[in-house]
């Protein structure tokens, strides 16, 4: 990427750290609490809360350490390149996660449901089509119209992609105000998107229980919404770091990583808009 860093700079070796084991403990507690919750044990939510608290404590501790190392200039050159590669591959794993859910949507809609309608073995008279709640749940679904809130949300997320890029330009040209303003705008647009999405869920005439349509609709949009939430939280962290003056025109990997993530979430939404709401 940038060749000005001398090759003999030693690769930063972090000292031994207990954050990973804290994270494992948090995740195990969280999972254990979730199992209890699913088993309708009253301790479930409490154990889950404890696990989540441990996990969040770990995130603060671990990321805090990394930020301090970054400020001390230990994560440059080759290490910076590692971080970039790491983020790219992480986003690729997320792409595959969503790809599998889209695969489920296409398979159900274009293969499973038509076969179920054609077979006429178990449920004679089932006509198939899309949207459908399936032959066994006598339920008709009124889908969310694409050109209402979803279209507005598309506009909002696309603009947020533009504002984050505008913030990046500001950062690269050393205009810190443009950076901070751009980030704040991006976060605000993200929050508006989430609020509209919540409104849409509350208004929708069907639930996640409404057969295959309800299941694919809420899983895809729900996981996307969760990613927008995570992205917005990360943008808040970046904004607070920008306010603390952590980023320079040359060194701002964390900003770029979150911006990449935000664009990825954007692209997933476009596909959602086309395949879940529109077509």
């Amino acid at each position: 990427m940038n060749a000005q860093h001398p090759a003999h700079l030693p690769y930063y070796q972090p000292p031994p750290s207990l954050w990973p084991i804290v994270g494992s403990l948090g995740l195990l507690t969280l999972a254990g609490g979730f199992v209890l919750l699913l088993a309708k044990d009253i301790a479930g939510p409490w154990v889950m809360g404890a696990g989540a608290a441990i996990f969040i404590y770990m995130l603060f501790g671990w990321f805090g350490t990394v930020i301090r190392e970054s400020q001390a200039g230990k994560l440059e050159g080759q290490v910076d390149r590692s971080f970039r590669w790491g983020m790219v591959w992480f986003i690729f794993s997320e792409v595959m996660f969503f790809a599998a859910f889209f695969g489920a949507l296409f398979y159900s809609r274009h293969i499973a449901v038509p076969w179920l309608a054609d077979a006429q073995l178990l449920w004679p008279g089932y006509a198939g089509g899309w949207p459908t709640a399936g032959p066994g749940l006598k339920e008709s679904i009124a889908p969310v119209p694409a050109w209402g809130i979803p279209a507005l949300n598309t506009l909002i997320l696309l603009s947020s992609g533009a504002t984050v890029t505008w913030a990046h330009w500001g950062l690269k040209k050393g205009r810190q105000t443009q950076l901070k303003l751009g980030l704040a705008l991006t976060i605000a647009l993200g929050v508006v998107f989430l609020a509209l999405q919540a409104h849409e869920y509350l208004e929708a005439s069907f639930t996640i229980r409404a057969g295959i349509y309800g299941a694919t609709f809420y899983m895809l949009t729900g996981f996307h919404g969760a990613h927008v939430t995570l992205g917005a939280i990360m943008l808040c962290v970046i904004l607070s770091r920008a306010l603390a003056g952590h980023f320079t025109p040359e060194r701002h990997f964390a900003f770029e990583a979150v911006a990449w993530y935000w664009h990825f979430v954007d692209v997933v939404w476009l596909l959602l808009f086309v395949f879940v709401y529109w077509l």
Binding site: P14, P20, A72, G86, A100, G103, G211
Partner: protein, 532 residues
Amino acid sequence: MEAATTHDAPHAGTHEAHPRGLLRWLSSTNHKDIGTLYLWFSLLMFFFAGSLAMLVRAELFQPGLQIVQPEVFNQLTTMHGLIMIFGAIMPAFVGFANWQVPLMIGAPDMAFPRLNNWSFWLLPAAATLLVGSFFAPGGAAAGGWTMYPPLYIQGGIAYDMTILAIHILGISSVMGAINIIVTILNLRAPGMTLMQMPLFVWTWLITAYLLVAVMPVLACVITMLLTDRHFGTHFFNAAGGGDPVMFQHIFWFFGHPEVYIMILPAFGIVSTILPTFARKPLFGYTSMVWAVASIAFLSFIVWAHHMFTTGMPAGGQLFFMYTTMLIAVPTGVKVFNWVATLWRGALTFETPMLFALAFICLFTIGGFSGLVLALVPVDIQLQDTYYVVAHFHYVLFSGAAMSIMGGVYYWLPKWTGHMYDERLGKLHFWLTTIAFNLTFFPMHFLGLAGMPRRIPDYALQFAQFNMISSLGAFLLGASQLIFLLAVVKCIRGGRAAGDRPWDGADTLEWTLSSPPPYHSFATPPAIAPLHK
């Protein structure tokens, strides 16, 4: 670098400072420590899941029900499969990657040392859930390692524990794989081009790519399982317009690449051992790299060969049959190259070489039975019979597990500084090979004769082969104690290994002392062309 801690001082090559005792292992950011943890963890899980298999074979020793009830039998086969795959074989290969990838490419450590620690320490968390599920009401998950609905939707809380355990294992695998990819792409010693990397590193690069691509798909499908179980979705329920077969499609889109995740690193180990003991460079290095890459590519378009009996259109069956058979081409290239590497070599037969040679013979049998199963009309007869069990144990035991054992004997001298006991190693090898074939070869006949798998009882005509198979299994299980003994003995002492105990070995790790210093290659080594 004023604020340098003990570990980031330049030229810390001889620096051995690290916390002592348990804290060293809990907090380690050292690839050698973490590799060791992976390897011990996988050995522990190997013995645990192996004992489950011993119980399975004890029940199948005779027709009728003797030792366990049918539902417990199904728990045993399910957990044997899940733990062997996710707890034993995959972590063992990641252990090799941790130890060997930085050493073989001249890197100071893994790219993300702390993340590396987390990737390991997530495994005990997942194992707690998996092993603990035996104590859940109703016992452990009993629906088979493939987790098919509707069985996995009907079971008790052990099924939730299993699903969450797999989620945690998936996070661990994806982070571990990203770490390996970035290490290989970014931390190679200056001057080492991709096509100069040892083949073991190549196989791990491609394996890690497969992991990042398909572990999220597994996460997706088990999430749908969880929501079908508890949150009222109908992904796999036809009454709601869902389809249980959809689970199989998504699962096997993960599942077939998963098979290569467990065999490509084995190819890498064998391709490292053979040239050493043949004292010749690996034959056809470039074609080996391309063969591994094509196997990885093809692995994405063959998944439905696991589903020929689910009622697929004939066109689909033909497509997946042909793509599956196509995999024989790059695999054949590999076997050909291994044999050509041996051709007119100055062969010696130390324990690692014996394991590598057995790998070529026995893995090839597993490959051929895979070709047999790829044929749609044959597969329809053999689906869910012991022929399938025989097939994948030839691939996963005499393929993956025996390459791991060979790799352990090969690198133990480097890791410990001592030579292992050659007589113990050879005893372990011969007993394992004989017992393995005794256990699994008769299963081909059982399957061809129609004995179904995952059933604790069987018709009388299958009794003799099952008895042979069970006796072989007990011997196979007991022989692994010799492996443990050989490893422990080697760690505690033995003839000094010297830097390069194998005169035919030419990769970078052999330029270091045995055991290598705690931090190696703080300054990258100079790379002369490796493959002349």
